[in-house]
Amino acid sequence: MTCKMKKNNIILSFIIACLFILQACEEDLPTMANYKDYSFASVDSDAGSWTPVLLSSPDNIVIADPQPTSSAAYQTELEALKQVRSSLSESQKKAIAYWTNNPTLRWNEIALELIAKYNLIPGPNEDGSYTLPNPNNPDGPPPFPFAHPPYAVRALAYMSVAQYDGLIAAWHYKYQFNRAEPSEVDPSISPDYISNNIPSYPSDGAVVAQASKEVLKAMFPLEADYLEEMANQHLNSLMWAGVNVQSDLDAGKIIGQEVASIALSRAANDNMSKAQPNKAVSDSIKASAYDRFGWQWENLESPVRPVGLTPLYSQVDMWYVPTLEEVRPIAPPGMDSPELAADIKKLVDIADNVTEEQRAIANYWQDGLGTYTPPGHWNKIAIDHLIAYGQNPIRSARTLAYLNIAMMDAGISCWDAKYYYHYPRPIQLIPNFKTIAGTPNFPSYTSGHSVFSAAGAEVLSYVFPQDAQKFREWALEAAVSRVYGGIHWTFDAEVGTTQGIQVASYTIQAAQNDGAN
């Protein structure tokens, strides 16, 4: 009896041990990127003279001269800073660690998460009709927006441009006024971030917090409360961390607010509101393509979507490309061409014999519904590299602004080709064809992934030439991933890559002449 008990106990102990091991092996999964404060590779004290994207001059935005650090007003602010730092709570410390000394990181991350949250295609109603998200009734259903790739890249572009222009203004005033950091004024303050000796008036963190929050509120109106809360926490954390006093923050907020309203007034008039026309207009676009080329793309979903995704995205104002025509690719192969016949054969062959590696590539770059989209993926890549190379906040904002400008121009040019040529997808031309990626609701030629990725890779190659080869390989992989997925022709991917490179050259030319090199 005793013996049996003992045996049972051993078995029980063994099972319990197994469970503990099992539980221990299950690490907590990261719900945010692992960003930390870091040392900047440069301070760019001349960045106030760089050419902004939207502002004609940094002193378009006016802030008051700061009180000298010897003044009673400043000393009062400094005391308030020391007071709050003397009893930081755990949640305040967490906020300090979260926001880091590069304010662009978390705002970019927040934008990507909102894109992933809102990148849901509206489903059909009971009667088979579809209701589109409506900015005038953002609650829906369906909620506004549907953050598809053209929407996402535009949101990112306006946010990054506002950050960049705002920081050019900030740098202009920082080095005009040269107000010392709090820790320099009072050595008893030891800030939580690595100090980079950048003048603290106005606060670059406040510029980015205010500008990003305002742009994102316009792009994701249902998130206004969340964004206000994040911006407040960010602003407070700058004081908790000991890097800014209240007047640094206030001046930064003024710049952020002003630059956001300049960016948003461009956004309000850039034709995005007309990008999703009604069925009659959509049908006439389709008919023109059929008249021109003898083919037309059809949506094959059930129930059929009456209008493809943003047929008039091509009419949205580009940033640096003067006309659509100069970057429009050549016509794709005709329906009876040997090129198309060869491609059909190739796609069928891939579908029948897809390797695990091809499947993994198709999935890795898919960035489909419910994710942060291909432009979001390239933002993540950019952030990882700008941290690796120690870019300071204004360099970071510049990288992201040109990246997103180039990708938005790329998207506009790509959508022009898509609806100008209105080329059918593989599932439309190959009987009984099955795909491992979902076929999107817009024409095939050229591939959005290819154009976005090539443009993104070119800008990153310009900014980080050491890694150019890697970026370009990734862009090619993202392009071919769509062929492996069965939803694009090889010429969609190849011509799209060339198109992306060409579109990005306009942005890169602007970057080469902005005074930051």
């Binding site: 469970l19 299950e26 945010m32 990507l112 849901l120 129930p303 999935n363 419910g370």
Partner: protein, 306 residues
């Protein structure tokens, strides 16, 4: 200590889905040096699924078909201990026509190992009570992609489970059985390094929620213990996880729950008593982030000594 007690009170093991005979959930044990091999084939389909708790259809999927061929062997290693090993082959596809044109998936799913032991037995005047415990482990036998709902053939993670089974069988052949199990599920690896599950995840790893399983069976043996007929209930209740988002594909992180009712029957062929045929049916009557499956299956078991 309380946790330990709860664990003890808790359950036993099990493997994968809905196998019908000689499974970790039933109260059958092979004698020492006996093997029972079961081969089953089942066909399941749904044309509606629960998106969160809302039942809906999706014409881009149309009807999701799932076929499963399973092999499971129960080996008597001791008069009160059996070892069970099994692996199913699963194939999925959409019915035609459908608006999505997505490829189905197929492959060997998870290999499972179970140890089932009789831990208590008492005979009464009118019947007998048997209590069994089962501990099991399963893990994907191939590199199938779990992050490919609704076509993926499994959740793609290892599972450890403990199950407790109690059965009372009357001398008349009538029996009632109840089983409960806790399923500890590990992580599955997606082929992307970011996903959204009520917030961002910066990893390819996805937590597959742990779950409780409940099983109730009422049945009777007829024809001199040659024919068994059972009515069953199976409940799966994930304890955590996110809901499928509107008109979006599911993913392995989802909180999967369902209530399934079914019928099982097994018949031992009088001329060949070492062989039986079986048939089963089940239907999901309620669920969350699950297909409203209806399944039919047939199978055979072969028993021999070694």
């Amino acid at each position: 200590m309380k946790t330990l007690k709860l664990l003890v009170i808790a359950l036993a093991i099990l493997a994968t889905n809905n196998l019908a005979a000689q499974t970790p959930t039933d109260a059958i044990l092979m004698g020492p040096k006996e093997i029972c091999m079961a081969f089953t084939y089942q066909y399941g389909s749904w044309d509606q699924y629960w998106e969160g708790t809302r039942l809906r259809k999706n014409e881009n999927v149309a009807t999701l078909n799932q076929q499963m061929g399973a092999f499971i062997a129960a080996i008597g290693v001791h008069k009160k201990v059996n070892l069970l090993v099994g692996v199913p082959y699963v194939k999925t596809h959409s019915s035609e026509p459908n608006g999505g044109k997505m490829a189905g998936a197929k492959g060997f799913q998870d290999i499972s190992f179970n140890v089932k032991a009789q831990v208590y037995e008492r005979t009464f005047e009118k019947g007998a009570l048997t209590v069994l415990a089962n501990a099991g482990y399963s893990t994907p036998s191939t590199n199938y992609l779990s992050d490919y709902r609704p076509y993926s053939i499994g959740f793609g993670a290892s599972e450890f489970n403990l199950r407790l089974i109690g059965q009372y069988k009357w001398n008349s052949g009538l029996f009632m059985r109840a089983a409960t199990a806790h399923l500890w599920r590990g992580q599955t690896e997606a082929e992307r390094d970011y996903y959204y599950a009520n917030g961002s995840y910066y990893t390819a790893l996805m937590d597959v929620p742990n779950a409780w399983e409940f099983n109730l069976v009422a049945g009777k043996w007829f024809l001199d213990n040659k024919l068994k007929v059972e009515a069953s209930y199976v409940g799966i209740k994930s304890v955590s996880g996110d809901d499928i988002r509107i008109y979006n594909a599911g993913q392995p992180t989802n909180k999967v729950q369902f209530d399934q009712i079914g019928m099982n029957t097994q018949f031992f062929l009088p001329p060949i008593p070492w062989m039986s045929v079986l048939a089963f049916f089940s239907h999901n009557v309620n669920g969350r982030n699950a297909g409203k499956f209806t399944r039919f299956g047939i199978g055979t078991t072969i028993q021999f000594g070694f």
